[in-house]
């Protein structure tokens, strides 16, 4: 039997373990929106970060990346941030290829879910960002509305 309306109203409350989320601006075009999102109140343990640069071994092989924390500006490492993370949301404006590749590969190695959000005003060319994120984002959203990012993160309970 399907649940009745009365039963549905009294559904058991499950213990809620917040998702460990990393929201990363992967290019300059996305830094503003990620900064603004970081200033809102979130129930989970989300961290809002800005991609800085790849770090490489002496032979040029990329091994990690530096990120900056939106709230205090402190520099941190991608590898450190991904420890224990459940999902990485990569936010792009118009590019973001280098960062998406590094973050995407690091998440794949660690079995971390990836999502990509390309945000640009209507009429602005987004194809480069879409192409950059597509191989690395299991879910990719293209939108012209900045508040879509907030709504998405709210829906996902980051």
């Amino acid at each position: 039997m399907a649940a009745t309306a009365a039963e549905a109203r009294f559904r058991i409350e499950y213990p809620f373990l917040p998702r460990d989320s990393r929201i990363v601006a992967v290019d300059g075009g996305a830094m503003g929106v990620v900064r603004r999102a970081s200033q809102l109140r979130w129930d989970g343990s989300a961290r809002f970060l800005l991609y800085d640069a790849a770090t490489a071994k002496g032979n040029g092989e990329t091994t990690d990346a530096t990120l900056r924390d939106c709230t205090d500006g402190e520099t941190t490492l991608l590898s450190r941030e991904l420890d224990g993370a459940d999902v990485a949301v990569m936010v792009a404006g118009s590019d973001g290829g280098e960062a998406a590749a590094i973050i995407g590969r690091a998440c794949a190695d660690r079995r971390i879910m990836t999502a990509g959000v390309v945000l640009a005003p209507a009429g602005v060319h987004t194809n480069d960002a879409v192409v950059a994120l597509r191989p690395y984002a299991m879910v990719l959203i293209v939108s012209s509305a900045e508040d879509d990012l907030i709504d998405l993160l709210t829906a996902l309970r980051v």
């Binding site: 309306a5 549905a8 559904r11 597509r134 990719l140 939108s143 996902l156």
Partner: protein
């Protein structure tokens, strides 16, 4: 997750509600044309957007959709007599035409002007394709008649059914947007259903059960692309258009007819699921029509004489645990339509979305909710006509295509995603 007040906003469609007003901007399916097969046939009770209405076809073939209840003492006109150009109440003989205008009150003197002062609420009822459509909003804002391709192709190319679904319209719609369940819930149907099986695309569906998703804005709503691995260097894309507020098309398979749905609120705890199949370039075959009438594909079997599915919540959808164990059906419920409906109804009449735990692959659903909320608020606060009303927003198709990995699904499929009359749909 939705806040409770947003869940209420999206799920309540009665008169005066924000979402109800949104629905009243559109032409909506009200009933199937063959429910009123002949002039002066019996009237049909129709509940839409929580309003109790009565549809009838008068002696001259005119369709009417009027308040179900007589203005005199409030009895149901369903008991009335449909004869001589109007519907006469069985209680005291008051008679109404298809516009709801009272045209006779037998107790009044002959020639009395009193009947002219009595008029029931009425809405237009117009046949386009297999469906009778109504517009329940402001007549001054009435849009052009619908131009959905399934309703505009020749009659022998198209077939539409409807079924009563015992849950809120939104959780039914969300099932239509959620491509990620197909490889699981419908895996049996991809192998056996005569309206699905045999397509090359099914192999990709069954071998890659972790699709990647892309969600892109469309003028009328969204395009949701589900991407699976195909041959080396290629992706198999299944592209679902959602047009606001309640229309989706399922990406096609091989040369099978293409199908889709409307989910029309009856009230806040029930909806009509309209399910259509059509082929843009050829008549449906006898075998296809027979399969549709027998409940295959997106259609279903019925409790005789009703639109209630034969498999329903009172009989646990005729759950077959042995078929489930043998792998013939993933959930144990027969038929693609009822596999969806059984799970959507199991959530309860209106699911409490403040308690759900969405994941990234639910992004299509999340984006659709965002757009519905914004459109309902923009209409309520600023009178903005929502997406999906304009005819050009309705000229969409679903598509299934194999593309090189570097091609985006929107730019590579732009032509395939819009209607070009006389051309075949893009399908793998």
């Amino acid at each position: 997750m939705l806040k409770p007040e947003i869940n209420e906003l999206l799920t309540e469609t009665g008169p005066g509600t924000a979402m109800g007003e949104l629905f009243r901007q559109y032409w909506m399916p009200a009933l199937l044309a063959d429910e009123l097969p002949t002039n002066d046939c019996p009237p049909v009770r129709v509940k839409l957007l929580s309003e109790r209405l009565l549809a009838f076809r008068d002696s001259n073939g005119r369709y009417g959709l009027i308040d179900e209840f007589c203005a005199h003492r409030g009895v149901s006109l369903w008991f009335g007599r449909n004869e001589e150009g109007g519907l006469r109440c069985a209680y005291h003989g008051w008679k109404y035409d298809t516009t709801g205008q009272c045209i006779d009150v037998p107790s009044e003197p002959e020639g009395s002007r009193f009947p002219q002062k009595v008029r029931l609420k009425s809405y237009p009822l117009v046949q386009v394709g297999d469906v009778l459509w109504t517009h329940m909003g402001d007549p001054k804002l009435r849009p052009e008649l619908p131009v959905w391709e399934f309703a505009r192709v020749p009659a022998e190319h198209t077939y539409t059914s409807k079924r009563w679904q015992e849950c809120n319209w939104l959780q039914a719609l969300e099932g239509g947007i959620d491509s990620s369940h197909v490889s699981w819930l419908h895996s049996g149907g991809l192998k056996d259903d005569p309206l699905f099986k045999g397509a090359r695309g099914n192999t990709y569906n069954l071998t890659d059960r972790k699709p990647f998703f892309e969600v892109a804005d469309a003028d009328g709503g969204l395009f949701i692309g589900a991407r699976r691995n195909a041959e080396e260097g290629h992706y198999y894309w299944r592209i679902t258009p959602w047009v606001m507020p309640n229309f989706t098309m399922i990406p096609p398979r091989g040369d099978h007819p293409v199908h889709g749905h409307f989910w029309v609120p009856i009230d806040d705890e029930n909806c009509w699921t309209y399910s259509f199949d059509y082929h843009p370039t050829r008549p449906l075959t006898d075998a296809e029509l027979q399969a549709m009438r027998e409940g295959y594909g997106v259609h279903n079997q019925y409790v005789p004489g009703t639109f209630r599915p034969l498999q329903n919540k009172d009989n646990d959808y005729l759950m077959d645990r042995e078929a489930q164990r043998r792998g013939e059906t993933y959930s144990g419920v027969w038929g693609i339509a009822m596999q969806d409906a059984s799970l959507q109804e199991s959530m309860g009449p209106i699911v409490d979305r403040s308690k759900e735990r969405l994941v990234s692959t639910d992004s299509g659903i999340i984006q659709a909710r965002i757009r519905l909320r914004k459109a309902a608020e923009a209409l309520r606060d600023d009178g903005v006509i929502p997406p999906g009303v304009a005819p050009e927003h309705q000229r969409v198709r679903s598509a299934s295509v194999v593309l090189p990995v570097e091609r985006g699904f929107i730019e590579a499929s732009r032509e395939a995603l819009s209607v070009t009359p006389g051309t075949k749909h893009a399908s793998v």
